[in-house]
Amino acid sequence: MSGLLQLTNLKRSFGGVRAVDDVSLEIEEGTIFGLIGPNGAGKTTLVNLVTGYVRPQSGSIRLQKSTGTTELARRPPHTVAGLGVARTFQTLRLYRNLTAIENVLAGMHLRRRDDTLQQLVPIAPLLREDRRRWQRARELLARVGLDPDKFGDRQAATLSYGDQRRLEVARALALEPHLLILDEPAAGMNPAEKDRVRTLIQQLNQDGLTVLLIDHDMRLVMGVCRHIAVLNFGRKIADGPPATVSQDPAVITAYLGSQAQKSATHVPGSEEMDVATSSPASTEPASPLLEVRDLAVSYGAIQAVRGASFGVAKGEIVALIGANGAGKSTILNALSGVLRPHAGVARFGELDLTTAAPDRIVRSGLVQVPEGREILARLTVHENLELGAWARRDSHAAHREIEALMRQFPILGQRRDLPAGQLSGGEQQILAIARGLLARPKLLLLDEPSLGLAPQMVDTVFEVIQKIHNDGVTILLVEQNALRALEIADRAYVVETGRILLSGTGPSLRRNPEVQKAYLGG
């Protein structure tokens, strides 16, 4: 047995949600182990369970080293770290106001002698040890590809995004770990930076480090991992070498939606033609309601959208599909005025969306239903809808509309006086859509309406979307559940790393193998 880390029947739920549901895994020593799964599958919770940030409700986590086996479950994070399990965080967690070197030095905390009292009177031999540590920190920076002369004394917050990610790895390495857990190390990176991350992971592994890699970028995960486990809704649905996992029907369904297999196996020979018919020119609307050209959006150093162009004509359902982190939500947020693009054109009728204030955009008829629904959990269903109509001047008409919505969506009518937080995820989604409708949209932007919903609830939500569309509302839909979205969409665009990769009519894209590649890697 050379399993370094063994998880047995691990369980953890939050409220009613089973974030990690009876997961067992074994990570061999010296391997690169990949953990993948759609958004909300429980990957980060699993990492938090292993590293002590979240306590499991049942199950065990065993770390097997040459010196013996240790149970990690229910130990505090600093103890787990002391046992040789280092991690990075999905959202960067550097010591932003400290320099790069100071970040690494803090990471050495457990691997240095405690000489606090001697340090109060600094004499030469003690300073020599200080210098030795300093030198070691510089070596670690160099190891992850950060030039210590250039970056060592820079404040962590001033480094570029990719360099910050690398610094976090250097800080984790300072712990001299047996197991390094990387939680989405390549998130938000461009392809060149991703290549450097891949090389770094492989180098660290060659030096004898066991790596647990969590990432959405399938090319990266499939490329470097020797073994992959797939989570969905907190359960492990597949486990094995990359080639087996990427062909596993359960995995394809989890990533692409329930229709995936039929369509994915439908392809023999016809793909060439499909790609040809889906060239952008043939399907672009002539006089679009919404027109976007070369849109570029950045979060500080991260460029999330790099020149996206598309259009939506009146009466259409248009879908933007693509893997997590492709930049889909960023595009929507830039259209609704929540984010400001730094280049490009976005016009909605006569309105310039790149400069107009968000409230002006809403009043002109472009309304966004945000990802994660953002309903007000403590207010009742009815109060949530009233707030949706708050900006309306014609309050009587708005009240009639609220009553009409209650009849139209009985799920809401039956629960009108219930706190919205008690609704199920799908019901909350419908409430969020209904709230959006009260702003009288001409174009409704829906961001991941099926996110985290059980399959039958996904059906209900998509029925609602079609109903609204039949009532004359144009819809721009962002979805990870690609095949469901393509079923109802007139046209769709596939987004990858901030660019439009493909476009075409819904049916043509459903048969296109490139779509599956964009999700599961080539």
Binding site: P77, A86, A106, R171, L175
Partner: protein
């Protein structure tokens, strides 16, 4: 202006004339060091006035009832403040940010209203006369303590302990992933802060004839907080500069001394708006430049990147 002219032309005369002011600046500087230690570890605690009271009352009560020498009394006062700090810290340090601040203010008020004003031995609301008071001789220990404590705390911020504090301040979750025992190091900072504040309280009784319970309330706590905010907390010099500046100011501008709290409030607001990192920022003493000014200047220069 006379204030500065005398400071530079006649330092001995200045010292003799302003002895009490200098002593008060020293006390406030030590309190500033106390709050710095907790700030440096990322904790907004406002319990210092309470620990001061413990140091002060312990010293005076021991002088009144025990034959022990004064330095020992002061030491016991400071250490007792540390012990109480440990006991208070056990429940309170689970809290963060504003909740920690409120809980520690609660401690200060509970101590003053619940213990000091109700226990006969503390003189209740009357306060206590200090038999060992020595306004002039008491200055010397203060003048020695300030540089010694400054040096020790400055060194401390460069040790393994200090690095752990800085890591906790920057990001607790990340600190624990680096193996830093966050609750332990927070507690160490809280206790050191309590001991230093208790010591300042003991020193203060030594220059006053009287221990006055009204000295140890919320307004004292807020005053100490102001030193830290105005001076800046990236560096131990910051709060000390803040203490020096805010204690001396009413003397420099005599007309303003009646409006001391108003002036302090205005300074606090101006610093928070225009120099949130405090007078002494990371780069040492810096000219006060508002953020819009630097933005405007960087816009004038052609953007280098992109």
């Amino acid at each position: 202006m006379d204030f500065f002219i005398q400071l530079f032309t006649d330092p001995i005369g200045f010292y003799n004339q302003h002895e009490l002011l200098i002593a008060q600046i020293g006390i406030n500087a030590i309190l500033a060091i106390a709050i710095f230690v907790t700030f440096y570890s990322g904790q907004l605690t406002l319990a210092n006035a309470g620990f001061m009271a413990i140091g002060a009352y312990t010293t005076v009560l021991m002088s009144l009832y025990l034959p022990t020498p004064l330095p020992l009394n002061m030491l016991v006062g400071a250490l007792l403040a540390g012990v109480v700090g440990f006991l208070v810290g056990l429940p309170v340090l689970r809290l963060r940010g504003i909740f920690l601040a409120i809980a520690t203010i609660g401690f200060v008020e509970a101590l003053r209203l619940g213990v000091i004003l109700n226990v006969p031995i503390t003189g209740e609301g009357q306060g206590l006369k200090n038999p060992t008071a020595d306004p002039l001789g008491g200055i010397l220990p203060i003048l020695i303590s300030v540089p010694v404590l400054t040096y020790l705390v400055w060194r401390l911020t460069h040790t393994r302990l200090g690095q752990a504090w800085a890591a906790i301040r920057e990001d607790e979750l990340a600190a624990s992933s680096n193996g830093i025992n966050v609750p332990l190091y927070k507690m160490i900072a809280f206790i050191i802060s309590a001991v230093v504040a208790g010591y300042a309280g003991a020193l203060e009784t030594h220059i006053n004839f009287f221990v006055d319970p009204t000295e140890y309330g919320i307004s004292r706590t807020i005053q100490i907080l102001t030193f830290a905010v105005v001076g800046g907390t990236t560096n131990v010099i910051g709060p000390i500069v803040g203490a020096l500046f805010l204690t001396a100011l009413p003397e420099i501008i005599r007309q303003a001394s009646a409006y001391r709290d108003v002036v302090n409030g205005v300074i606090l607001i101006l610093v928070i708006i225009f120099r949130p990192q405090g007078i002494v920022g990371r780069g040492g003493l810096a000219i006060i430049a508002p953020r819009w000014w630097t933005r405007w200047r960087s816009r004038e220069r052609p953007a280098a990147a992109h």
